[in-house]
Symmetry: C2
Subunit: 124 residues, 2 copies
């Protein structure tokens, strides 16, 4: 069970940030109409609003590198909580930005979608 | 609905860190036998193991100050996801430590308990 969660969570994290860095609009495939994103305190709901926000971020080229990933089973059958910390390197900035992000992944038809997504830069 | 979540989440966060800083053993009242804590990558399950870990942390006096709190409803009826960033000042260290922490709060008999808890220091 624990190995399954780590395997699913790790695959999701790799997939998510790879899409973000190489083909951001395709992240739409990971959200649903019920999905929620809180991005630096701004609340968005539904794939359309979430994708508009992500695609309108004021940078084009970026590269996420992951520092830590923690996984836990959620109480909802088969759902998984994923907690990520890492660095976000923007092409337009010299130094990477540190961030933390959590995802609540819900199983559906053999795959998972993001029901909850909370992103914060770690200012310091 | 959203106001309710923020109100419950804010009250929980205030209560949690106040207990942590003033009477750490009483945090036991917020966990259940099914609760999970991942603390800096170490996995603990159940109130007893979680409390042993929290009470054996290598510092006595500490003070959490909160920088940001984000809340979202979970898909589990009435449950709430809370994402916190802040500083942890230890009496034995000059500079505060930055941390991020998430909680999955589950309603039970008019109150909430912590089902999922993930804590990470933000090194940088």
């Amino acid at each position: 069970m624990e190995e399954h969660i780590e395997s699913v969570g790790k695959a999701f994290v790799d997939h998510y940030y790879n899409l973000f860095d190489t083909n951001r609009p395709s992240l739409a495939s990971l959200y649903h109409p019920s999905s929620m994103l809180t991005f630096e305190g701004q609340k968005l709901q539904g794939t359309d609003d979430i994708m508009r926000k992500l695609c309108e971020l004021p940078f084009d080229q970026c590269l996420h590198s992951i520092t830590t990933i923690d996984y836990q089973p959620s109480c909802f059958a088969g759902a998984i909580l994923v907690f990520v910390s890492g660095n976000l390197q923007l092409a337009c900035q010299e130094h990477p930005l540190k961030f933390s992000q959590m995802f609540h992944l819900i199983p559906i038809q053999g795959t998972f979608y993001v029901q909850n997504d909370i992103f914060r830069l770690n200012y310091g």
